[in-house]
């Protein structure tokens, strides 16, 4: 196999080698140039992402209100969280919510992508329609769901009644409220998963599938043996992204149920918001936020490790 340099055109320019020089100053890249490109992003990241994270870590060791000074309390905010039943309930709800949303939206997104990867009349329109919820405000989606799933006047219960089925307390029963919230979130997220899977499916070389067909593989065999393994990096990425989205979920739940009935849909981010702004405990809320960031970092590291192993295997 030729080296990278021999792939270069005969003009003498090489991929890895230096560019031909017509004069010392014309093609030389100034050492400061990369920094000029990177600095705006670094500044924005520093001011709007890194600095707040650092401040949150500092606040998490203080007893501090929304404004005014704080008092250093060590790890008291962290130990407080561990001893509060509501913290553990919000963790449990977050896990349930994540388990309810991640596999569902990923799987449905894959099914839709496979369906819309075929030649269908109006395929472009259908793809756009499925992606539409992704660009609609979460608050707007939530309000529509609240109207549709209203126990007394919602269209969903009206339809159930027409079919002779019993009404369901979608938003007012602790048992059903989480299901309704998950439905709303999955509906909004399927389009995103579909688009990502669609891009991955279109990257699969058709000749590989044709070769499989020639070798006698059926549709399921080709999918299980070729398509699914080739989609694995995409699936990993989507699963991790969906987990991150679910751990950060707030707007839909805030509007749809406010965390209720009782605490049945209070997830971790909602608990952080409540601690900060309802209870006015910024230090405690920061400690919860830091714990969430640590979990998210671990998940991201896990995802990177899996992706790296996959690359090495392939």
């Amino acid at each position: 196999m030729p080296s990278a340099e021999t792939w270069a055109p005969a003009t003498g320019t090489t991929v890895a080698g230096p560019a031909p020089s017509r004069g010392r100053s014309t093609n030389r890249v100034p050492a400061a140039a990369p920094w000029l490109f990177v600095t705006p992003s670094l500044l924005l990241f520093g001011v709007f992402a890194f600095a707040p994270i650092v401040v949150s870590v500092v606040l998490s060791f203080q007893d501090v209100q929304t404004f005014g000074g704080g008092e250093f309390v060590g790890v008291e905010n962290y130990s407080d969280a561990m001893s509060k039943p509501l913290f553990w309930e919000s963790v449990r709800n977050t896990v349930v919510f994540t388990l309810g949303t991640v596999p569902t939206s990923t799987l449905l997104g894959l099914l839709l992508a496979i369906l819309l990867n075929r030649r269908l009349p109006g395929r472009g329109v259908i793809r756009s329609l499925y992606f539409l919820p992704m660009v609609v405000s979460g608050v707007a989606v939530s309000l529509i769901f609240a109207w549709m799933f209203n126990t007394d006047s919602g269209i969903v219960n009206a339809t159930l009644s027409e079919l002779g089925l019993p009404r369901v307390d979608w938003l007012t029963s602790p048992g059903w409220a989480m299901t309704t919230v998950i439905l709303a979130v999955v509906w909004g997220r399927i389009g995103f998963c579909m688009v990502v899977y669609l891009a991955a499916l279109q990257n699969i070389n058709p000749s590989v599938l044709e070769a499989a067909q020639v070798d006698g593989a059926g549709r399921w065999g080709a999918f299980a043996g070729i398509v699914w393994p080739l989609l694995a990096p995409t699936t990993y990425m989507l699963v991790v992204l969906n987990i991150v989205f679910s751990l950060q979920a707030f707007d839909v739940i805030y509007v749809l149920t406010g965390g209720g009935p009782g605490f049945s849909t209070t997830v971790l981010v909602q608990y952080i918001f409540r601690s900060a702004f309802t209870d006015g405990k910024m230090g405690y809320a920061s400690a919860l936020g830091v714990m969430l960031v640590v979990v998210l970092l671990l998940l991201t590291a896990l995802r990177n490790r899996l992706a790296k192993n996959l690359d090495e295997d392939s």
Binding site: F67, N150, T151, S153, T257, G262, D279, G280
Partner: protein, 459 residues
């Protein structure tokens, strides 16, 4: 929509033509009753100067300032404040006051963030239940130097004391309001129910429940809705505790007093309305909102609605005024109703506190308080303005019921609701009552959890 707000009046209703159906003595008695309760709380402000302002900042015709006043999202109220700002400018040409809407949603989130960023509105309209927290954490500033002398003399004692923290005035009372029972005339007629003709004849809780059962049979859905409006309004349940002879805190305003037989009974009575589907499950503390509540009443899903005076205009838009009316709250061993209303306070972000305080005094003077209450259907808080002397711009018959009902606001409840710690107490109430009303916790556990939560909140 927060308590104490409503939409504009369009119909002039000459109150003078209406014989008052309440007693002035009673209205003033309300002031006295609340004053008695408030006396358990905070010491009076020392009167020590005849000067209207101890500040060196000019507040007269040569005053200069650009101020922002933030009020709830009620068009009529905003119009009234715009008028006051214009009137004030005539005598203070270099003072501009911009009126803005307090955004909907979580008030605490919005206001604390604005305060933290130093960009809070100069003047904030704030409820009795909210001001304690901000007086305590410095979000609103003391106004003592601007209200010296006998300024406070004309304010009803209970309200003036409720505006103080440790004897320091942190807001000037502008108005109050309360709850009564809205009813659909046709539904009650079909149910064979007669409404009480006077406060003395108000339904007992047992009678009220019987009425709800009959009304439910008529509507085929539910009996009533209640004016909850999110977690910040859990305190609106408290009148039921007090009308049964219970109380939230002991007289020291620290020790919980709800974990007992009366407390459990009051919680369970209200929870039974949900269990027996006399109230829609969606009308819970955390799940309710004004639009849905009014819709349930206007569409005939329910025949009764317990709510405040400030939503009468909204109700009139949703259902023809001739089809509904107002009667009294139910009662038990005593009558009780909700404490509503607002103060005007100066935020810590204000750069011209003397001018801001001067404008607040202008808005809360007798003339403008009267105009505000008559136009926007509120109850005044000045001794020189007994509610029965006002000519409300519309629904004066209904306002008469609210005025009479206001005499039943329990003094002890008013004192508790204006404590600095009440914001934290209310969070406990909202959480635990919502668990109970949604069937996730029984009344005994709820009373104990509220009691334990209050201990944590006030410690």
């Amino acid at each position: 929509m927060e308590k104490g707000q409503h939409l504009p009046s369009h119909v002039q209703h000459p109150h003078a033509d209406q014989p008052p159906s309440w007693s002035r003595r009673r209205v003033l008695g309300y002031s006295g009753a609340l004053a008695g309760g408030a006396a358990l709380g905070l010491p009076t402000l020392a009167a020590c100067s005849s000067s209207s302002s101890g500040s060196s900042e000019p507040t007269g015709a040569d005053a200069k300032a650009d101020l922002v006043l933030s009020s709830w999202q009620i068009p009529a109220d905003l119009v009234a404040y715009e008028k006051f700002a214009t009137d004030y400018k005539q005598t203070h040409p270099n003072v501009t006051i911009k009126i803005q809407e307090t955004p909907g949603g979580d008030f605490n989130q919005w206001f604390t963030t604005q305060l933290a960023g130093g960009s809070a509105p100069d003047i904030i309209r704030i409820t009795w239940q909210q001001i304690g927290r901000y007086a305590d954490n410095g979000g609103v500033i003391p106004l003592d130097e601007y209200v010296q002398g006998d300024y406070s003399a004309d304010f009803q004692d209970a309200f003036w004391k409720a505006a103080q923290l440790d004897g320091s005035v942190h807001g000037i009372p502008q108005h109050t309001d309360t709850f009564a029972t809205y009813y659909n005339k046709a539904i009650l007629k079909n149910a064979g129910v007669t409404v009480p003709a006077s406060l003395d004849q108000a339904w007992t809780l047992a009678q009220f429940k019987d009425v709800l059962v009959e009304v439910k049979k008529t509507t085929g859905k539910y009996g009533m809705v209640f004016g909850f409006g999110g977690p910040n309004t859990a305190y609106r349940w408290l009148p039921f505790l007090y009308m049964m002879g219970g109380k939230l805190l002991e007289d020291d305003n620290v020790t919980p007093a709800i974990d007992n037989e009366i407390g459990v009974k009051a919680i369970d009575w209200f929870a039974s309305l949900y269990r027996e589907e006399l109230i829609p499950a969606s009308n819970s503390i955390k799940g309710a909102n004004d639009a849905a509540t009014i819709k349930s009443f206007s569409t005939g899903d329910v025949g009764l609605m317990i709510y405040g005076d400030w939503i009468m205009t909204d109700v009139s838009k949703a259902i023809e005024p001739s089809k509904w009316d107002i009667t009294y709250m139910p009662k038990d061993v005593t009558a009780a109703s909700d404490l509503g209303g607002n103060l005007l306070a100066v935020s810590k972000s204000c750069k011209n506190p003397a001018v801001a305080a001067d404008f607040i005094k202008f808005v809360c003077d007798s003339e403008h308080m009267k105009y505000f209450c008559e136009t926007d259907l509120f109850l005044p808080v000045r001794k020189s303005l007994p509610a029965d002397s006002l000519s409300f711009s519309k629904q004066s018959d209904q306002m008469a019921v609210f005025v009479e009902q206001a005499t039943t606001i329990p003094a002890g409840m008013g004192t508790v609701e204006t404590l600095p710690s009440f914001n934290a107490i209310q969070t406990v109430l909202a959480d635990q009552l919502d668990l109970c009303f949604t069937g996730q916790q029984d009344a005994v556990k709820t009373a104990k959890a509220i009691s334990d939560g209050i201990k944590d909140a006030v410690s």
